[in-house]
Each structure stands twice: as structure tokens, then as C-alpha cells.
Symmetry: C2
Subunit: 180 residues, 2 copies
DNA sequence: AAGTGCCTTGGGCACTCGTCCAAAAACGGT
DNA sequence: ACCGTTTTTGGACGAGTGCCCAAGGCACTT
């Protein structure tokens, strides 16, 4: 089954990207982690970059879907912010998911194709947030969505270095002020 | 003058980190950019990592000082947010400074010594912000500082992928609500 | 039994990497 | 002019890289 090998490789990639950095993942460590022979990497994928891109975009899409589903269940803007924060707090410490997001963002700087794909995922996330905000009477829904998405990423990034204060949620709630 | 060579190397490093990624900077391209022979890298620095760390921490410290000085001149919280945003907007597009910050943050994941040094710089920035907020009557100054610092980083990161709406500044101003 | 695909293996290719080092050069004091 | 120190040079070392490919294994049809 060739598909099994593909899945094993794309499944092993995100963890290694986080551990070693995007540029630190080599065909051989990736194959070893996936329990597969190094030669298979270039049989199933056109290049190592293509493999990493496919794996990262898959993980990002899944994350956005999860956060989106979580959003649907919230009743109020405050509850939405709260829910996203607690969901992300499970990723605390040197969270794999946030590091993967950041690594992927940086990789887009040097790969135009990847940049396009990740841009779509981010735009999709912003659009979902904005739609939900508009429905629930939050002022400036698009801008709020953009700022909130950026803040979430920034907090995840900073968290690895310095824990954020407890009151961060309180402050964040100010962002989603309901239109007066 | 040995010091001239040191400066040339640490001066060339940040640009290359942004262009090629932290892991993509090699002794030879760095030496070439600095107009220096490759062998000199390991004469003046104990390792390539040490060179990159020293250069990055220097650049970060300078950035925090600049933003801190800008903060001192602001009269109101709104003006402070405005000033920081416009200062950062000069870095628009694929801004070198924000990418350097992010690259350095990620590098801390795999270098404990660097993590400590960058953590200090970030803590210093948060402390300056918080002190200024407390003086000007912003509610929850520490938490606001943490969230704002994260948001600034996140916006810079996202900006390379997707331009943020004009109204982002309006939304950000909500963050620095004055204590009621 | 022979043939036909796809999948897998293990090694090889040309290259870059960080680091080191002997020898050459430049410098400064006498 | 000589000498000791610091700086610079250019090349070498072993290790690791992405990618490629001839050879074999395997499940299937004919």
C-alpha cells in the first residue's frame, strides 16, 4: 500500500518540523521517524519541500477547522474568546501546534507556492471569524477578526518564552466589544 | 582592527537570517556578505551559533529601545498605539525587522542560552509598556502589555501573508481602555 | 510459467556544511 | 632591523545533505 507510506511520512513531518525547524528536517531523519526507507521519500513526493508543505498545510487546515467548529458552539463573543483561549492553553508550554504554525509562516517567506496555500487558509480563518462576529453584533468584524487572529498567534509565540498573565483573557475580551 | 571584522559580521547577520532563515546562514555566505574571509568567522567567534545569537540579541535590544523611546513621547494610550502602529507600518510588506524577531523566537526553541537572553529582552519590553500603561491609567497594565506585545508580533507575522484591514488600529485602541 | 505493473531497497552522486589549522601577513615596541 | 603578538588566509577534514537509480520483491493478470 503506497498510501500508507505517504500518510506515515506526512504524519511524521509536523513533529519533526517543530523539533528541528523547517530547514532541519532531512530526508533521512524523516524516513526513520516514519519507519520507512529514505529512498521512499522521493518516490512518493517530488521533493522534500513538497512533502513538508503538504504536511504543514494539512495540519493548518485541520487546526482552522477545529477552531471554527469551536466558534460555532459559542453563544456570546466573550464566550468565544474564552473558548479559544482555553483550547489554546492545552497547547501550553512549548506547544507543538503553535510552533508549527510559526515555522510554516516563516517558510512561506522563501516558498511562493506555500505562501499562496497558507494565505488561503489564513483568509478562510479570518472570514469565519468575521462572519461570526458580524452575526453577533461585534463592531468592525473584519478588522477584529484580523487583529484577534494575529493576537492568538502572537500569544502562542510569546508563551514559549514568557508565560502571559492570568488577566490576558480579560484584556482580550475588550477586543470583541459589541457595537454600541 | 579586529573589532571592525566583528562588527562587519554581526552587521551582516540579521539581513541574512531574514533572507535565508536562521538555519540557512552558513559561515561562507555570511563571510562573503561581510566582505571577509570565511576563516575569520571562527577566529572572532566561538561558533556560528554564537555569532548569530549575538547579532540577533543586539538587533532586538535596539528595537525595544526604539519602541520604548517612541512610547515616552506619547501623551495618551490611543496616541501610543497609533504611534507604534505607524512606526511598524514602515516595516510593511516582508519587513526585515519582524521576520528577524520571529526567526529569533523560533531559534530560542532550540538554544537554551539564546532563550534566556531573548526572554530578558521581551520581559524588559513588557515591563516598559506596563509601567507606561499604569502611569496613564490603563486597566490591567501588565496583562494589556503582554497582549499588546503579542498582537504587534502577530500582526507583523500575518502581514507578510495578508494585509490587515485599515480599521485594525480602531480595534487595537479598544485594548488600551482607560480604567473606569 | 511468464509477464506486467507498482512498490521498495540500498547505495552512490555531487555538493555544502561547521570547524580546524599551518603558514603567511600585518602590527607594535624596542 | 629584529622579534613577539595578533590577525588573516586558503585549504583541508569528516560528516551530512537532496536527489537519483539499477536492482529486486511483490501481487496480479494472462
Amino acid at each position: 500500500m503506497g498510501t500508507r507510506v505517504r500518510e506515515r511520512l506526512t504524519g511524521a513531518a509536523p513533529g519533526l518540523i517543530v523539533e528541528l525547524g523547517w530547514a532541519g528536517v532531512s530526508t533521512r531523519v524523516l524516513a526513520e521517524r516514519a519507519g520507512v526507507t529514505p529512498g521512499l521519500v522521493h518516490y512518493h513526493f517530488s521533493s522534500l519541500q513538497a512533502l513538508l508543505s503538504e504536511a504543514a498545510i494539512g495540519a493548518l487546515t485541520r487546526l482552522v477547522d477545529d477552531l471554527g467548529a469551536l466558534l460555532e458552539q459559542a453563544k456570546s463573543p466573550e464566550e468565544a474568546v474564552e473558548g479559544m483561549l482555553t483550547a489554546l492553553s492545552e497547547y501550553s508550554g512549548s506547544d507543538p501546534m503553535s510552533l508549527l504554525v510559526t515555522e510554516t509562516f516563516l517558510a512561506t517567506t522563501r516558498d511562493a507556492e506555500l505562501r499562496g496555500a497558507v494565505g488561503e487558509v489564513l483568509a478562510d480563518f479570518r472570514a469565519r471569524l468575521a462572519a461570526w462576529f458580524a452575526e453577533h453584533g461585534v463592531a468592525d468584524p473584519e478588522a477584529t477578526a484580523a487583529v484577534l487572529a494575529a493576537t492568538v498567534d502572537g500569544l502562542l509565540l510569546h508563551r514559549a518564552l514568557l508565560p502571559e498573565p492570568e488577566a490576558a483573557a480579560t484584556v482580550l475580551r475588550r477586543l470583541v466589544a459589541v457595537r454600541s
